[in-house]
C-alpha cells in the first residue's frame, strides 16, 4: 500500500527532554515498551538508546568497546560517514527514501569496536507519541573486524497514539569475522503505518542473525531487509515469528544474496493469522558456488485472515544447494489428537501447539526477553482469538 505522506507531520508530537533512565517514563508508556521487548530498568544491558518522536532522549553506553551516538552526532563526528551513510541504501530510490533523507529526525549510530565481544545486549528503542506523528530515522550499525554484539531493538507507540507513520532506514556493516545479532520486537497499533528499510553487508567469516517478533496488531507494515554476503564463509540467518490479529496488514520478508564462496543463508518465518492479512516473502539468490541456502515459511490460519507466501530461489551457478519449504493451513489434526490422547481437551491441545509454533527459543534471546516473549505468547493463547 502506498503511503500518504501529507497526513503526517515530521515535527509533530510531544517533545521530551533528556531522560536519565527509561524508568522515568510514564508507567503506561513503559508497559508499551516492555511489550516491545525493552528492558526499562536497563539491567543486564551494555547500553541503551531511546528516541521519542524526533528527539533522542537517552543515549548511554556502559561498555567502552561500543560507541553509541545519535545519527546527527555521528555524522558530525565522522564528516558525514561517507563510507556508511546512504551507502547501501539509495536516497533517490523512491519517495520513501527521499522523505527519510529530507526529514531526517534521528536514529542511532552503533559501532562495536574491533575484536571486542560485548556479551550484554545493547538496547535501542523507537517510540511514537502523539497524533499523526511521522517519525523518520536512519540508523547505522557497524560491527568491526572480529567484534560481536547483540542489539535489541524495540519499537512502540504510546496508547494515546491515534495515527502514526514510522520510517526506519538501517544500514548494517559486519566486517571480517564480526558477529551481529539484531533482534527486533514491534508493538505498533491499528492506525500505524510502518516502513522499515534495511540493507547490510557481511564480510568474510562474518555472521548476521536477525530475529523479528511481532505479536500485536499493526495497521500497515511493509519491510524487506536485504543482506549481502560478500566475503567467503559469511553466514546470515533470519528468524521471524509473526502474529497478525484482525486489522493487521503485513508484507514482510527477507532477502539474502550469497555473493561469495561457502556462504550460507537461512530464512525461517512462522506466521500465524487470527484475522490479519499477511504476505510472507523470502528470497535467497546464489551468485557464487558452492553456497547453501534454505527458506522456510510456515503459516497457520486460525479464525480468518490470509497468508500469501512467496518463496524465491535464484541461482546462475553450478553446485549450489538451495531449498525452500512453505506450508499454509490449519494445525494438523493428528497433532491435536496426539495431545488429546494424553488428556488435553481440544482447546488446550490447540493452544499448546500454537505456543510451540510461535516458540522463540531458537532465536537465542537473552533469558529475560525470551521469558517476556513467551509470557506474551501464552496470553495470546488465552485470548478469545484462539
Amino acid at each position: 500500500m502506498s503511503v500518504d505522506f501529507s497526513r503526517y507531520s515530521f515535527n509533530a508530537g510531544e517533545k521530551t527532554g533528556p531522560l536519565a533512565d527509561l524508568g522515568l517514563l510514564p508507567k503506561m508508556d513503559q508497559v508499551r515498551l516492555i511489550e516491545a521487548g525493552i528492558n526499562v530498568q536497563d539491567h543486564h544491558v551494555s547500553g541503551a538508546f531511546m528516541q521519542i518522536n524526533k528527539d533522542g532522549v537517552h543515549c548511554n553506553t556502559r561498555h567502552e568497546g561500543v560507541e553509541l551516538l545519535s545519527i546527527q552526532a555521528a555524522l558530525k563526528k565522522y564528516d558525514g560517514l561517507p563510507q556508511h551513510y546512504w551507502h547501501l541504501l539509495d536516497p533517490e530510490k523512491d519517495e520513501l527514501a527521499r522523505t527519510v533523507k529530507e526529514t531526517l529526525g534521528g536514529g542511532y549510530f552503533i559501532r562495536a569496536k574491533k575484536g571486542v565481544k560485548i556479551t550484554e545486549p545493547l538496547q535501542s528503542c523507537m517510540f511514537i507519541k502523539g497524533t499523526r506523528v511521522g517519525q523518520s530515522v536512519h540508523n547505522i550499525v557497524i560491527v568491526e573486524e572480529g567484534a560481536e554484539v547483540h542489539i535489541l531493538n524495540g519499537c512502540a507507540t504510546s496508547n494515546a497514539t491515534e495515527e502514526a507513520l514510522h520510517l526506519g532506514f538501517t544500514e548494517y556493516y559486519v566486517e571480517k569475522g564480526g558477529k551481529l545479532t539484531f533482534t527486533m520486537v514491534h508493538n505498533w497499533g491499528d492506525n500505524v503505518t510502518v516502513r522499515p528499510r534495511s540493507a547490510g553487508i557481511v564480510e568474510s567469516g562474518g555472521e548476521f542473525q536477525s530475529n523479528y517478533i511481532l505479536l500485536k496488531t499493526v495497521g500497515d507494515l511493509a519491510m524487506y531487509p536485504v543482506i549481502k554476503l560478500v566475503g567467503e564463509n559469511a553466514v546470515s540467518r533470519f528468524n521471524s515469528v509473526i502474529v497478525a490479529p484482525k486489522g493487521s496488514n503485513l508484507d514482510c520478508g527477507n532477502r539474502i544474496e550469497l555473493n561469495a564462496k561457502n556462504t550460507r543463508g537461512e530464512v525461517i518465518a512462522r506466521v500465524l493469522t487470527v484475522g490479519g492479512k499477511v504476505v510472507s516473502r523470502g528470497y535467497i539468490g546464489a551468485e557464487a558456488s558452492p553456497v547453501k541456502g534454505h527458506l522456510e515459511c510456515k503459516g497457520l490460519i486460525l479464525g480468518g485472515g490470509s497468508i500469501h507466501t512467496i518463496p524465491e530461489l535464484f541461482s546462475c551457478q553450478d553446485g549450489v544447494e538451495l531449498s525452500h519449504e512453505a506450508a499454509v493451513g490449519k494445525i494438523a489434526q493428528e497433532e491435536i489428537e496426539y495431545l488429546m490422547a494424553r488428556g488435553l481437551d481440544e482447546d488446550e491441545a490447540t493452544s499448546t501447539i500454537v505456543r510451540g509454533f510461535l516458540n522463540v527459543d531458537i532465536m537465542g534471546l537473552p533469558d529475560q526477553l525470551q521469558k517476556a516473549m513467551n509470557e506474551q505468547i501464552a496470553t495470546l493463547n488465552a485470548s478469545s482469538a484462539l
Binding site: 494438523a332 489434526q333 496426539y338 495431545l339 490422547a341 494424553r342 488428556g343 510451540g356
Partner: protein, 276 residues
Amino acid sequence: MCCTTSKKTTAAGVMTMKMLEIHDLHVSIGGTPVLKGVNLTINAGETFILFGPNGSGKTSLLMTLMGISGYEVTQGSIVFKGQDITRAPMYERARLGIGISFQRPPTIRGLSTGKLVELCARDQKVDVPAMARKLNFDTFLDRDVNAGFSGGEIKRSELLQLMAQRPDLILFDEPESGVDLENMSLVGNTVHELLEGESPKGVSLRQLGRVRQTCGLIITHTGYILQYVNAHRGQVLYHGKLCCEANPHEILKHIQKHGYHECLRCLSTDDKEIRL
C-alpha cells in the same frame, strides 16, 4: 474354548472387576469395514495380547478404543469402568484412565518432550527428570516432541509419557518395533513396570492378581514383549474378527510354525471347536 469369552474370574479363581468391555464392535474407515463384530473383555490386572497379520485391524481396534477420528463405530459399544465411552471424546477417555503408546506419533515443533510429559501428568506431581533417567532418556527432555527421533527413541518417549499419565488401561501398539536389542530390555521392563508396578518381593502372582488394577492390551508381531510381561490371555484378530483365544505363548508358537492361515479355518467353523 475359542473366540469371544467374557471371563468373570481370573486364572486363580478370584472375582475381578471388568475394566474394558467391547460388545459386537463394528468399525469402518471411510466407509470400508475394518472391524466386523469384535467382542472382548479385559479385567482389571490382566494383560491381553493381540496377534494378527498386517491389515487385520489390530491398530484400528486400538485407535477406536482411544477415540481417534476417522474410525467410525457403526455398531456395538465400548464400555470402560462401567461407563459407555463409544462416543466419548478422546480426552475424556484419557482422563478416565485409558493410555496409548502410538507406533508412529507426530512431531510437534516448539513443544519440548519434557513439557509434554508434564502435561501428561495433569494434576499429579511427577519428577520428570528422574523418570526420564530411568528410561535413559533425560537428554531428550529439551528436544521437540518426536523431532528426528529414532524408532527406539519414539518408544521411550511414549513410555515416559505413560509413566507420567499412569493410565489404568494401556494400549501398546507394537512396543518392540524399531527397538534395538540393547534397548529392548529397557523398553520391556518399563512396559512391565507400567502394567504391574514394581512388584514387591515375596508377593505371589496370585496375590499380585488381587492387588493390581492396571490392565494392558498389547499388539505384537514378534512376541519379544512376552518375555517381559505376565501375559494372561491372547487372541488373534483376523479379517476384522477375533478368534483363537489361548495362552499367548502358545499362540505365538503356533503362528511361528503355521502362520495365520488356520485362523481362517477357525473363523469359518460354526461350532468354533478348532483350537490352536
